[in-house]
């Protein structure tokens, strides 16, 4: 069973540098903004290179898993989500959420499952934004729900959807995981 969802898988096994990056760059053109690609490679140097390339190209490097001799790199294609104006008015800062973690609240992480897998707040529940409408029944309307994503934009959209569906106590966390300094947990190899 897959541990998390990926949208595109690229096989770059057996290829030596520079081909894994050349192929990733090419494949990225067909990946939709915000989607996750898994790049399989056997070149050990590909890890440092793919991370540096992603940072330089503006994509999000999520992490790498090792499976035998194969390295599986996970990247999320850049999107223009940050430029959208936020509308949900009930917000909290990262610090405010950190101070609330021991209370009876729900932390809802609406990033892609692969982003969640490589770095999330230990108590957070994962429901990617794209799945929220179908999975809203997993949440209780009376709960105090803190919604997080990477920068606060997807969580803003998620918060709006929840309010539209009758949730009353929904707080968008700003800026979100990109600046989170508290405890996190991640998938192990």
């Amino acid at each position: 069973m897959d541990l998390f969802k990926v949208n595109v898988v690229l096989d770059a096994k057996g290829l030596a540098c520079p081909m894994p990056i050349v192929k990733t760059k090419k494949a990225m053109k067909d990946v939709e903004a915000g989607q996750v690609i898994e790049v399989q490679a056997t070149d050990k140097g590909s890890k440092a290179d793919i991370e540096a390339w992603a940072n330089s190209a503006g994509h999000q490097y999520l992490g790498t898993l090792e499976e035998g001799d194969t390295l599986k790199h996970y990247l999320r294609k850049s999107s223009d989500e940050e430029t959208v104006e936020k509308q949900h008015s009930n917000t909290a800062t990262n610090e405010e959420l950190a101070s609330k973690l021991s209370e009876d609240i729900v932390v809802l992480d609406v990033r892609e499952s692969a982003e969640y897998a490589f770095n999330h707040i230990p108590s957070a529940v994962s429901i990617p934004l794209g799945e929220l409408e179908d999975r809203m029944n997993e949440l209780k309307k009376e709960d105090e729900i803190y919604v997080v994503c990477r920068t606060g934009s997807r969580s803003d959209l998620a918060a709006q959807k929840l309010v539209d569906s009758g949730f009353e106590n929904v707080i968008n966390v700003l800026p979100g995981m990109s600046q989170w300094t508290g405890e996190t947990t991640k998938i192990e190899n």
Partner: protein
């Protein structure tokens, strides 16, 4: 225009001859910052290859038209790609065969002197990493000191000289590179010597190298006198060869001295280090030619590419030998130490025989400079 291939040997000659070269290093920025090809008259420009996938137009103006150009990457593939792109843009460029991997593994044999009976001493300069190995040749026999893991080079060199390797030494348990000493000894049937104080955790057979040991190479008595000189490690041992050369291991370098912390005992061994450098070495002839196990900076190379200097000159010029105040000495070698060598714990365990990583892994463990010294 054409793309040419340059070997690590050719680049080494350019370093020795202080020639000019423009190096376009297309590795990651942090890899370049950490470690690069050093040459007195080399110029550098670093841009990762993946920034050039769409073309090289934007860097053309950074590349001089009046200099020889060498494109370098980690293993070769990316440098070939970039070199071809530059060639299509009208430049004549070379790429480094085998990339930094080959650079890290290249050994350049340099003769450092003759022995009384007509024998010779060769230094094997591992130019990319700063490691120095030695071969003492006398009357058909050879001894190797501080061999690197590229063992074929030593064995082939001995064959070309028509000599038989009879004794293989490590001056101490190395933390910066994987020793090839044991492998050579096993392959050739030679004796492998290691100081027992550094060998307490090893799981293989060795001959105990101790202060006062004398090993004769060849039948005309070229003696190798072992001199116990702790400090870098507790077992560190120096050799006096033919009353002429002092192989100082990682205790004394040309422009620096050994660091005492790589086996985790900086505080304990700083006293030993001072004793070795300020007392034991002081008793030796100043005419001895010091042959260390490392160099740190390219300035330490002599014009012929060798790394060697008279002990008397080092007493006069090496800062680490001229710190009168003991507490100041203690501070120098225990505080503000440079970063430790890459994977040094794993390298030590490999040299103890506790782990046997695959070749690719060994290569990766050794990436980067040796960092065995304090200055």
């Amino acid at each position: 225009m054409t793309v040419k291939m340059m070997t690590a040997h050719e680049v080494t000659q350019k370093v020795f001859n202080k020639e000019e070269l423009f190096i376009l290093d297309v590795r990651n920025e942090d890899a370049f910052e950490d470690w690069k090809i050093e040459g007195e008259n080399f110029e550098y420009f670093n841009i990762p290859y993946f920034e050039l996938l769409d073309g090289v137009e934007e860097i053309l103006e950074k590349i001089p038209s009046n200099k020889e150009i060498l494109v370098v990457c980690a293993k070769e593939g990316s440098s070939v790609m970039v070199a071809e792109m530059l060639s299509e843009a009208g430049l004549t460029v070379s790429y480094l065969q085998g990339g930094m991997k080959a650079w890290s593994e290249h050994l350049e044999p340099v003769k450092v002197g003759d022995l009384k009976d007509g024998g010779e001493v060769y230094q094997f300069v591992r130019i990319g990493k700063g490691c120095l190995s030695y071969m003492v040749i006398s009357n058909g026999e050879a001894a190797i000191i501080d061999a690197t893991r590229m063992t074929d080079i030593f064995i082939d060199f001995a064959t070309s000289k028509e000599v038989k390797i009879t004794n293989v030494f490590d001056t101490h348990l190395h933390a910066d590179h994987i020793s090839g000493g044991r492998k050579i000894a096993e392959q050739i049937g030679a004796t492998y010597w290691l100081p027992p104080k550094d060998a307490q955790e090893v799981n293989f057979e060795y001959a105990a190298l101790e202060g006062g040991s004398v090993v004769t190479i060849g039948n005309t008595a070229i003696d190798i006198h072992a001199l116990y000189s702790p400090g870098h490690t507790i077992g560190s041992t120096s050799f006096v060869v033919d009353e002429k050369f002092l192989l100082s291991g990682d205790i004394l370098f040309i422009d620096s001295i050994g660091r005492p912390d790589l086996a985790g005992k900086a505080e304990d061994w700083v006293g030993d280090l001072r004793e070795s450098l300020y007392s034991r070495y002081r008793e030796l002839s100043e005419e001895l030619v010091v042959l260390p196990a490392h160099f740190m900076i390219i300035d330490e190379l002599n014009v012929d590419g060798s790394v060697a200097e008279k002990l008397g000159t080092l007493f006069a010029k090496n800062h680490g030998l001229n710190i009168e105040d003991e507490s100041e000495f203690r501070r120098l070698v225990t505080e503000n130490l440079p970063p430790q060598p890459n994977a040094y714990q794993e390298i030590r365990e490999t040299n103890m025989g506790k782990v046997t990583p695959e070749e690719e892994k060994q290569r990766e463990m050794e990436i980067g400079p040796n960092r065995c010294a304090v200055r």
